[in-house]
């Protein structure tokens, strides 16, 4: 039996474990002890025999596991780690760590979890007290006392350094300490209990704790599961818990006995009146858009926001009406708002809109001088996973929405009308219209002096084949140019 003592550092264990492994010493032949922790035999450090094997190769995953577990307070941590190391290298169980239900692997995983929880709780429950300010640098100085279950000061110091870089602080625990002065993070040995000063601010915090508690939903067990009693002694708020719990029932009974208060009408506040106006508009339900065709654009927009003539209003976010100068020379009509347009509430802001912008610029058309709108004013889609997939509107939906479009057309009264895609063209020209055969300038309609029908830019986006797309883009540009060529 070889007795090996570790100075509590992972590096010391790693070096000794490597030596033992190369010397072919079985786990059952090693007695591990920790310096400074009481050992059973106190055998001191045996001399490790010379190597007979090549240096071992172990997965990174094991190194990180061993590093974490080395901070555990359980005295058998070194032996368990060595057993797994042996079995992975000499024992032919290279993928041992993957077998999470192996008793030793499971035990180590549990130890790692305990460390992680302890670290997390230390991040949470350390409480700094201000002790003063550095007379030279003016930096505020703080200190804290904390009692973790394991030797985790080295695992947590970095967190505090990165969070509290701008202040000087020191944390003391029974198994280690750390301090930061703005330049260097120092780790030191543990200390016996340190007294921390009281602060006036504690009373503010305790007042906050008392007030944020809702006595009507007492769940003491849930609180204790996350904040076990062992942490209470260093928390300034914990001595309130007992009385908050015992008073809660009376407080709730008191609320139940209060006489209910009637509603107060709210008076003539101008902002409330503004809200009531908004509500009145929201409460309007428009089922017959036909009734409103001749109204001015502002009114159309207001009424269209309340349109329930087809079921699309239920799932869409809102109505997306046209945008642009009321006296625009050119009006452009697409199919319906897409995902982005639905979110923002404006037409042609998504990918198809961006493509359209590019071609308008190429054709010499200034978008800001055009009135842009859609044949259907609500986004039609089906949710699929994280996405909302566009659906073509039905003939019925298009025809129910048509009065809004016609209303816009009558008000803008453009010289040039550009119809993008079959939905727009069929809505205004007729159900039999075929883009593929009748694209370009359309004669003989009442709609505008010049009417041009072409594809929708989203059609261009869908084309996969490079040469097809180039050809279609050329034709699209030609149609746009035809719209504005005198």
């Amino acid at each position: 039996m070889l007795s090996v003592a570790i100075d509590l550092s992972f590096e010391d264990w790693r070096e000794k474990a490597r030596g033992l492994l190369q010397a072919g010493i079985k786990p059952s032949e090693v007695l591990w002890e920790s310096e400074g922790e009481a050992g059973l035999f106190g055998g001191g450090n045996a001399i490790i025999p010379p190597p007979v094997h090549a240096p071992p190769k172990v997965p990174k995953e094991f190194v990180s596991l061993a590093h974490t577990v080395s901070h555990h307070s359980s005295p058998d941590r070194w032996g368990l780690l060595y057993e797994v190391l042996w079995r992975m290298t000499q024992g032919g169980e290279a993928s041992l760590l993957k077998r999470s239900t192996d008793p030793t692997v499971a035990r180590l995983a549990r130890m790692r979890k305990e460390i992680a929880r302890d670290v997390h709780k230390m991040h949470a429950f350390v409480r700094f007290k201000k002790t003063g300010e550095d007379p030279e640098s003016g930096r505020e100085q703080f200190m804290a006392w904390f009692e973790p279950d394991h030797r985790i000061m080295p695992l947590t110091a970095k967190f505090f350094q990165k969070r509290f870089t701008g202040m000087d602080w020191a944390i003391f625990t029974p198994t280690g300490s750390a301090s930061w002065d703005g330049r260097e993070l120092r780790l030191g040995p543990g200390v016996e209990k340190v007294e921390v000063p009281e602060e006036e601010l504690d009373e503010l915090w305790r007042g906050y704790y008392r007030s944020i508690f809702n006595p009507a939903r007492l769940k003491v067990k849930a609180m204790q599961a996350e904040m076990p009693k062992k942490y209470w002694k260093n928390l300034p708020e914990s001595d309130l818990i007992e009385s908050l719990v015992s008073e809660s029932r009376f407080r709730v009974d008191g609320m139940r006995e209060e006489a209910p208060r009637p509603a107060n009408a709210g008076g003539k506040n101008p902002y409330l009146k503004h809200l009531r106006d908004l509500d009145r508009c929201d409460d309007t339900v428009v089922l017959q858009p036909d009734d409103h065709v001749g109204r001015p654009l502002d009114k159309l927009r207001e009424l269209a926001a309340c349109c329930q003539a087809c079921p699309l209003h239920g799932s869409a976010t809102g109505t997306v009406m046209g945008e642009g100068p009321t006296d625009a020379d050119i009006m452009i009509v697409g199919e319906q708002p897409g995902d982005q347009e639905d979110l923002v509430g404006r037409p042609f802001v998504g990918p198809a809109g961006q493509l359209l912008d590019r071609f308008l610029a190429e054709a010499g058309i200034d978008r800001s001088q055009c009135y842009l709108t859609n044949a259907v004013k609500h986004f039609k889609f089906v949710p699929k996973g994280k996405h909302r997939l566009h659906q073509s509107p039905s003939v019925d939906e298009v025809s129910r929405c048509k009065p809004w479009l016609v209303g816009e057309l009558l008000q803008v009264n453009p010289r040039v009308l550009i119809l993008l895609g079959a939905t727009a063209a069929r809505s205004l020209i007729g159900p039999g219209f075929k883009i593929t055969r009748q694209r370009g300038v359309v004669e003989g309609t009442w709609l505008a002096d010049r009417v041009v029908a072409t594809v929708h830019p989203s059609y261009l986006l869908r084309l996969q084949n490079h040469s097809d797309r180039e050809e279609e883009e050329r034709a699209f540009l030609q149609d746009l140019k035809a719209a504005v060529t005198p």
Binding site: F128, F142, R163, E203, I212, V220, M227, S315, V344
Partner: protein, 426 residues
């Protein structure tokens, strides 16, 4: 009024907001700055109140004066509650003082509506601005926003905050009309749409610039909301459908369900009976099933059964109604089917997928994974276990899981063993 009293009034006024998350912010720390603070990855709960809720953020209202008259709210204009208002500078100082002592992860700031939506937002934004710009504060900021506030102000709030939120409060427009007449579901959804668009646009800019800062990339990383359960007559189906709407259309990070609890200054319009807290818990479980377990709302609740069972968790309840899918062979079944086994969470199901590549799953493995055997065994096959078909078809199977009725007793030293509330947390 002294600061202590103000803090007590304005924390008391804020406690009905369940949101406590301090996670999901962009990673940052104070190592290269003058100020304090860091965020990143998981949030930290710095304390717990006896209501079981975590205390992660300083959660306060800027003021509890309010023009609105929401009947479930203690701060409504008809209430006689004592009113107070912080100055922005007071909130800034409290936040920094608490933060430097490691009491909190940051600030959750909301406010009663004073004067107008825009005026209120400007006050809230001033606190955020001062923390970020005057004090280089890098902790977590959650700002409540108001749907009627102007787009510019929501943009500003989003630039300072990690999380912004608008509470929908109630799941139906009709209920809002009755209980919160100044609020509108329609306006809230429109505002949420704009926020989602901005959140995604900023995330894309950050990806493209790979960490290099730009004004377009500076925006909150997500939005959340809260609904109050049991104030109106909405069924669980209505709640879950609304949550589905908000998750899929506006990609909310979280929908918080808050069981309506009795408040001082009760309104004459609202029913005084509080719903069982367990209903809130069941809604959270159902919400989880929809988001992480591949369940559709229609599988959990339906027109025939619009409410969740209170005595069983929704997954077990589903399994008992759909016994034809069981037993599931843990050594063969695909992932999504493992997710449907009562008592198996996503993590344990994933572990089982990992373990079974190296050997057969046995009951011993389930014990080591700390799975509840009582719950799992009737529904699964392992190398050494096969439930009898009689057991699975037995009429009494449901009764085996339902908790026995017991007296409710809660005390600090004997915390509700077997009580309905004790069950909720297990």
């Amino acid at each position: 009024m002294d600061l202590q009293r103000k803090l007590e009034i304005l924390a008391d006024a804020a406690k009905y907001d369940a949101s406590c998350a301090s996670s999901g912010a962009n990673r940052r720390n104070s190592s290269n700055g003058k100020g304090v603070g860091s965020t990143g990855g998981a949030g930290i709960c710095h304390s717990y109140a006896p209501d079981g809720r975590c205390i992660s953020l300083l959660k306060v209202l800027l003021t509890n004066r309010c023009l609105y008259d929401c009947h479930y709210c203690i701060n409504r204009r008809s209430s006689n509650v004592q009113r107070a208002a912080f100055t922005p500078a007071e909130v800034v100082k409290l936040t920094l003082d608490f933060y430097k002592r490691n009491y909190i992860e940051g600030l959750f700031l909301s406010s009663g509506i004073i004067r107008s939506a825009d005026h209120t937002m400007e006050q809230v934004i001033e606190v955020a601005r001062s923390l970020r710009e005057d004090h280089d504060f890098r902790g977590y900021l959650h700002l409540k926003t108001i749907p009627e506030a102007s787009v510019d102000l929501i943009e500003k709030a989003g630039q300072y905050a990690d999380r912004i939120s608008i509470n929908i409060e109630l799941p139906k427009e009709q209920s809002l009309k009755t209980f919160a007449p100044e609020k509108s579901l329609k306006r809230t959804r429109i505002a949420m749409g704009k926020i989602r668009h901005r959140v995604e646009n900023a995330a894309e800019v950050r990806r493209e610039r790979q960490g290099r800062r730009s004004p377009e990339g500076k925006f909150a990383t997500g939005q959340s909301t809260q609904v109050i359960v049991g104030a109106d007559d909405s069924t669980d189906q209505v709640f879950l459908k609304r949550s589905h709407d908000l998750y899929s259309n506006y990609r909310l990070r979280r929908v918080y369900y808050s069981a309506f609890s009795p408040i001082p200054e009760p309104s004459a319009i609202l029913p005084l009976k509080a719903p069982p807290l367990v209903r809130e818990h069941r809604l959270y479980q159902a919400d989880w099933l929809m988001r992480f377990y591949g369940f559709e709302a229609g599988e959990i609740v339906s027109d025939e059964r619009p409410n969740l069972a209170l005595d069983l968790d929704p997954k077990l309840s589903w399994a008992l109604r759909n016994r034809q899918f069981f037993p599931v062979d843990l050594n063969r079944a695909e992932k999504l089917l493992l997710y449907r086994v009562p008592g198996l969470g996503v993590r344990n199901a994933d572990r089982i997928l990992g373990i079974r590549r190296y050997g057969k799953i046995r009951v011993q493995d389930l014990i080591r994974l700390r799975v509840s055997l009582k719950k799992v065994l009737p529904f699964v096959i392992t190398a050494d276990h096969h439930p009898s078909s009689r057991e699975l078809d037995h009429d009494n199977l449901r009764a085996r899981f339902a908790p026995p009725p017991e007296q409710m007793e809660l005390h600090l030293n004997t915390p509700g063993k077997g009580s309905p509330l004790g069950q909720v947390m297990e």
